[in-house]
């Protein structure tokens, strides 16, 4: 066996030491009637060469962003990943380690997470951030539970512009927690929010790409003693828009896929919850803190564990244990590589590409039902949008996400995105193909 180092002789010696003839004798406690008599019906083992061929042939049935022009966002973005990221992620001291329970032998991961917490605080302006969550959607759901626990209130309002994936997950968690969830338009907030509302969840920029007026929202939310939870599905927007803390946001739930994580068909990426100081004890998940060792030297540990399930069990702030540490590390390396100015430049480039795309689409006769107050994605409308999508796909262009299935009222509407990967050449190619399709 390739992955089991004990050879026959070792096994014989071990069996002898135990005074038994075969390893099967060690399964004495398992009821006889359930022991399997024949092998499982799974294919036989494959050698590495055959194995590669098979897996590669399955991968070849897909069309990747290398083969397709991707104008698709909606909570997952095709961004460039610098070579430093895979180089560091490939260090198996990181990727084959467990959660850093034993601090003295895990200083590398612990410091990296501390740096990550710092980056998230710098990007959002919030006081503290946890060591990561599964993704942006579950982070948003956990933020909702934080709001419930710290306010004792049982009603939650969700903006219609929250990503449908996030909305679905928030809905699942709310149902299980006995929370009453209501979806509203942002301009209904004043009427809908009340003394029973634990929080209002709004996405920035929202699912349709629009930049929300958080300052106005914040006042209405806080007037009623409710909390403002802001979900961020496109983390790069943090480098383009004013810091969330400036709008008095209470809790931020973000997905950082955009920072150095491949799209991976939707996972893994990492989520994160950041918040104001006063919610520290309600924060779910791991936290790394700086401290000193027995000789006064600086070092890092997992801290404030009294919130967590392995200490507090049924009274924990969340049940989360494993998070997405390696994806958080990817983001940390990404942010260190591109730097503050680099990140702002990338964000600006995204916005400019999106504006260029919008101008080309406008010329091609698309309407903008939500206007043009966007960062790097927006909604366009045209009677024949669906038909064009199909035709463009045959030309190797993924022209956005049709919204009709998820939002029946948005017939003929498509959500399109442009990142730094969609440069002018890419957009010109799209415009040219559109031209051919529209005028032929």
């Amino acid at each position: 066996m390739r992955f089991t180092p004990c050879n026959e002789r070792d096994r014989e010696e071990m069996l002898k030491a135990l005074g038994i003839k075969a390893a099967s004798e060690l399964f004495v406690d398992i009821p006889k009637d359930v022991l399997l008599e024949k092998q499982l019906s799974i294919t036989k083992a494959l050698g590495e060469m055959q194995l590669r061929r098979e897996i590669e042939s399955i991968a070849a049935l897909n069309k990747s962003a290398k083969q397709l022009s991707m104008f698709l966002g909606g909570g997952c973005y095709n961004h460039f990943i610098p070579a430093t990221v895979p180089a560091i992620l490939g260090r198996s001291e990181f990727y084959t380690a467990y959660t850093p329970y034993q601090a003295e032998i895990s200083q590398g991961m612990l410091q990296a997470i501390y740096e990550w917490q710092t980056y998230i605080c710098l990007l959002t302006g919030m006081d503290l951030a946890n060591a990561s969550m599964y993704d942006g959607a579950s982070a948003t759901a956990e933020a909702m539970i934080m709001a419930k626990n710290s306010s004792g209130r049982k009603k939650v309002l969700v903006a219609k512009g929250l990503n449908p994936e996030y909305k679905a997950v928030v809905g699942t968690y709310a149902k299980a927690n006995g929370l009453q969830l209501k979806e509203i338009e942002v301009d209904e907030l004043q009427n809908e929010i009340g003394e029973e509302t634990a929080c209002f969840i709004v996405q920035q920029p929202n699912f349709f790409g629009c930049i929300e007026k958080l300052h106005e929202i914040e006042k209405k939310v806080h007037e009623r003693g409710s909390l403002l939870v802001v979900a961020v599905a496109e983390a790069l927007s943090l480098a383009f828009l004013p810091k969330l803390a400036e709008a008095n946001v209470d809790i931020v739930a973000a997905d950082v896929q955009s920072f150095g994580n491949s799209m991976n068909f939707g996972g893994p990426s990492a989520g994160v919850v950041a918040c104001r100081q006063q919610f520290m004890r309600q924060l779910p998940g791991r936290l790394v803190g700086k401290t000193v060792d027995a000789s006064g030297k600086e070092g890092f540990v997992l801290t404030l564990q009294a919130r967590e399930q392995h200490i507090r069990r049924e009274r924990a702030s969340s049940n989360i244990c494993s998070n997405q540490a390696l994806c958080a590390l990817a983001s940390t390396v990404y942010l260190a590589t591109v730097g503050e100015k680099g990140l702002k430049d990338i964000a600006k480039e995204n916005h400019e590409n999106a504006e260029y795309l919008a101008s080309k689409l406008e010329k091609a006769g698309f309407e903008f039902p939500f206007g043009k107050n966007f960062f790097n994605e927006f909604v366009v409308k045209r009677k024949d949008a669906k038909e064009l999508q199909q035709k463009l796909l045959s030309k190797g262009i993924v022209f956005g996400l049709s919204l009709e299935e998820r939002f029946p009222e948005l017939k003929d509407c498509v959500l399109v995105a442009a990142t730094e990967m969609n440069d002018r050449e890419d957009i010109d190619k799209l415009a040219e193909q559109l031209g051919v399709l529209l005028w032929s």
Partner: protein
């Protein structure tokens, strides 16, 4: 701050050298199944045909991804005996939460309002936390003197108000619960469901199927049993499998095959809904799929047998030297304690001293019912030589505790830092760098 690339690489390479993974050495962290992570799995997950897929791409352009998910699910069903699996949960605890929501939805549909869930005193902390995240009350069930579920206590607590039990088998003592058949019968007789925490599935691969033991819903940890790396704390993947009657409650979408085409099935009014965005940690699924294809059906049983043999052998080397609270044939792991150790040397001291011998310490102070627990899981991917070296170190530490206790109590001596002040960290939280 703007850094040049050489500085970035030196910084993070430097950090990596302060870390320790399975590739660096023995990592017998009980309950975590720290087995070797085959390199080919990593490479396959990085193939552009997998890593550069957008989750909302047209289905005809992601048929390979769907096929992989479909076939992985089929394999997991065969291994466990379940009708279907959802691959969506992102980690073990996320799988538990999913499972508890399924239990909740099942009773809701039946029109029953059951308010409690039984959790053995041996359970992982995530179990009671998952229970209360669904609004259930967690009620503890005791273990008996043999390390099995105490049937008398179970009978006293199981009634029509109880939705079910969360059971880990082999349990966190590393013992196969000899009462499992009775546990499932008692719970089922009162209409309850049995949830299986699959963290310890490594011991049962190809040996028996959890469904045949009477389990109704269970999560697996692809990052434990199926050899995908732990990533320093994730990403993991915690697929949830269920018996036929619970399939309708699984998170959506599931992958269906029609002819030679694969599609996502989003229907199903009884589904608990979505647990995370899109379809789960797909990259992790690719690694687990590759692993399963690499070892095949013949390899699966060998994994379990070697894991159990390694654990029993290591136990045989240590039983004379360390207190063994439950003296039985163990499965893939076993639990010792610091009871009777000389000069008040504690489990924590032993763990820290092991660092000086080049080993990652075992899980410590868990399970909670064993005072000063030392939980050791060697896995099948260790050689006899490594097990012997570890046993030698453990024996040596006991000698040191008798002869030179200060050496052990002030360890580690060879790490980049000495013991860290956890109290200061919690009392004066410094959670981010500030200028």
């Amino acid at each position: 701050m703007n850094l040049s690339e050489p500085l970035v690489i030196r910084h993070f390479t430097g950090l990596s050298r302060l870390n320790f993974g399975v590739d660096n050495g023995f990592y017998p962290l009980g309950s975590c199944t720290m087995k070797y992570n085959p390199k080919v799995c990593e490479e396959m997950a990085r193939l552009e045909g997998f890593s550069l897929l957008h989750p909302l791409q047209p289905l005809q352009s992601v048929q390979g991804a769907l096929r992989l998910m479909y076939e992985l699910e089929k394999m997991l069903c065969e291994i466990c005996g379940f009708a279907r699996f959802s691959l969506q949960p992102a980690a073990g605890a996320h799988g538990e939460l999913t499972g508890m929501m399924i239990v909740q939805a099942y009773f809701k549909k039946k029109g029953e309002s059951r308010t409690k869930v039984l959790v053995p005193d041996l359970a992982h902390g995530t179990n009671p936390a998952s229970v209360s995240m669904c609004g259930f009350e967690a009620v503890e069930v005791k273990s008996d003197s043999s390390g099995n579920t105490d049937l008398e206590d179970l009978r006293a607590k199981m009634d029509e108000n109880v939705a079910g039990i969360m059971i880990t088998n082999p349990n966190t003592l590393g013992l196969f619960d000899q009462n499992i058949a009775d546990v499932c019968r008692i719970v089922h007789e009162k209409g309850g469901l049995v949830y299986g925490d699959g963290a310890n599935m490594n011991a049962l691969l190809g040996i028996c199927k959890p469904k045949d033991l009477g389990i109704d819903v269970m999560h697996l940890n692809l990052h434990k049993t199926f050899s995908t790396p732990h990533g320093g704390g994730g990403p993991g993947s915690g697929p949830v499998g269920v018996v036929e009657k619970l399939v309708q409650f699984l998170p959506l979408p599931l992958v269906e095959k029609n002819g030679d085409k694969y599609a996502f099935e989003f229907g199903g009014e009884n589904s608990i809904g979505k647990m995370r965005s899109f379809y789960g940690n797909f990259g992790v699924m690719v690694k687990a799929f590759t692993y399963l294809r690499a070892i095949g059906s013949d390899g699966l049983k060998q994994v379990a047998e070697n894991a159990v043999l390694n654990a029993n052998y290591l136990l045989s080397r240590l039983r004379k030297h360390y207190h063994l609270p439950f003296d039985r044939v163990c499965m893939h792991e076993f639990v010792l304690s610091d009871k009777g150790f000389p000069n008040n040397v504690t489990t924590n001291d032993i763990a820290k001293r092991l660092l000086d011998y080049g080993f990652h310490p075992p899980m410590v102070y868990f399970p909670l019912i064993v005072k000063g627990a030392i939980m050791i899981e060697p896995t099948e991917t260790e050689s006899k030589e490594t097990l012997d070296r570890f046993a030698d170190a453990m024996v040596k530490i006991k000698e040191e505790a008798a002869e030179n206790p200060e050496l052990v109590k002030t360890s580690p001596h060879s790490m980049p830092v000495r013991r860290l002040d956890a109290v200061k960290a919690a009392r004066q939280p410094d959670l981010r760098w500030k200028e």
